[in-house]
Symmetry: C2
Subunit: 341 residues, 2 copies
């Protein structure tokens, strides 16, 4: 059977089922942002891993190695943020092609360590080996969170309001500018273009906000936006067995993305819904907690509501309801789009 | 600067130094079999990661996917064994080329889970993505060990006896048979050939023995033999700031390896010293503990002694002393040999 006929998430489900053995020490296993493991009486160990492959996740024609190191750390820390946790330790493996120089690898680690240092995490190990084709990066981050505060994808309840912590779509628009230079207008050299590219190359993991949301105990479910709003909301809906109605006019879009709209291929909301790699947090909370949430001093954009009806619906300015489904990146989709980033 | 001028271990040292931030929670950081992290009052969290790249670490022309899954789990568990620990949790990332089938990935996980199940470890997460060139596997294993029992590479003392837990060199000889078919004599189909190949494709991590050695509190330092006896003893010597004298006649060689000697390119002891991927445990213990060690009921082969003089010396049958240095696999060596396995 071709992997494309299962898709990425079908394959993950198959792997999950094949991991026969259950353990009472596993509070959250395969299928969330991070695993949550009982290793002490009060706190959970969080563990997450991501692989980044040259030509699939990044292209060194337009990604410098400092940014690649930065992003490799950021995307993994973001998974810890999405569980409400604190990052502690990190392991990296690099498969390095023969043509690479020591300076390039040093640049990678400068970017990587800059993010780790900002969030007080420590590099404790890894593996360094040669690769025949292209650079391969694998990062594992370990973190911790109180048993009482951990946030998963599966806790959303009908009636919950849906929030995101920041503007969406900039990263995907930045990638488009990097890849296609948008109609030769030199967009990558404009202030707007530079901002969008920066969002793509050096995302900021929302560690403090994730932690504040967890400590407030206001949220029911949380995820970080890596695959795109539609896909990641889809993960919450599926694992919580609920649906959602999103108001398209409430999806927060940056001024840069609106300004860039004139020369981008798609309309801004497309990048927000389907683009991915924003690394903002997406979470749900019951209406009675909204006032408390608003008092926390973190950016909050309310974009819709969780419903008992398991469809995902988008409501446009004119009040028209359209059902939508996950349209973010699937590594093994039948009609693969362009490389992820 | 070319990476080859630093070598693999020079590069690791550079990465270690660049990871500026120290943390009191890190008992053992970069440069041992696993990191040892303080997460609770009495026990340490062990974390280790390994990357396996097609064309570098394995060749699918002579490695079936069940064996690859098996080995990917085994080599990481072996690092936990080398610290005296118990494996608990595992994360895997796979970069999968488009041509792979679901059945192939299922075979990989059948092999992988067989090893996990045997050692009561649980797959708790990972990442699954597409790859352009070749299969890439990255595995992280988390384990635990008592603070009082952890064994590192740095505790060896002059006068310590040096032990290995089993026969060495079979894996490297098996690889040679797989790769070159040894002079067209169909060696891979003989009983001897099959045993050596099996040693290469499906190594057994010495979990129970590592644990027994740690609990006995007899050993000063321990490592698993992944790079080869000379390299791995070299790691102990360097990190313990000692040297060693090894008696070549005492290096344990299997009957299969001796029988195969007639058609192998090198003499048996070469495979034991330089081959690697045996995944036996190599440890040192003071003379007064030898009797207790022998009572533990585990295979023990005493092969030499730790010395204050920091050279590594091999003593042959005739009493001739030759200094030797680490000759195992270096991913970035100036004159790279064949692929690792």
């Amino acid at each position: 059977m071709k992997i494309s006929s299962l898709g990425e998430f079908g394959l993950i489900e198959k792997i999950r089922k094949s991991a026969l053995r259950r353990s009472s020490a596993v509070m959250v296993g395969i299928g969330d942002d991070a695993a949550a493991l009982k290793v002490s009486a009060s706190s959970l160990l969080l563990a997450t891993t991501d692989m980044l492959i040259e030509g699939v996740h990044f292209n060194l024609a337009y990604t410098d190695l400092y940014s690649l190191g930065w992003k490799s750390a950021a995307v993994n820390l973001s998974d810890i943020a999405a569980m409400g946790g604190i990052p502690r330790f990190c392991l990296t493996s690099l498969g390095i092609p023969p043509a690479f120089s020591v300076e390039q690898i040093s640049d990678f680690y400068r970017g990587f360590n800059a993010v780790l240092r900002a969030h007080r995490a420590v590099l404790v190990g890894g593996d360094t080996c040669s690769s025949r084709y292209g650079l391969t990066v694998s990062v594992t981050v370990l973190g911790e969170v109180e048993k009482t505060h951990v946030l998963t994808r599966s806790g959303a309840k009908p009636g919950d309001r849906v929030f995101v912590t920041g503007k969406l779509g900039d990263s995907a628009a930045g990638l488009e500018i990097l890849k296609y230079g948008v109609k030769g207008r030199g967009a990558s050299r404009t202030t707007v273009g530079k901002r969008l590219i920066e969002a793509h190359l050096r995302p900021a993991p929302r560690m403090a906000w994730g932690r504040i949301i967890a400590l407030s105990r206001c949220a029911h479910a949380m995820i970080d936006i890596s695959d795109g709003l539609s896909s990641d909301l889809g993960h919450i809906c599926e694992q919580s067995r609920v649906g959602a109605v999103i108001e398209s006019g409430k999806i927060p879009l940056s001024l840069s993305l609106r300004k860039a709209a004139a020369y981008l291929v798609n309309i801004p909301v497309y990048y927000a819904l389907s683009g991915g790699e924003d690394y903002e947090l997406l979470f749900t909370a019951p209406p009675e907690k909204v006032r408390k949430l608003r008092s926390l001093g973190i950016p909050l954009h309310e974009i819709g509501e969780i419903t008992r009806n398991r469809a995902m619906i988008i409501l446009d300015h004119a009040g028209k309801r359209t059902s939508f489904r996950a349209t973010g990146y699937d590594h093994f989709a039948k009609e693969p789009g362009e490389a992820h980033s």
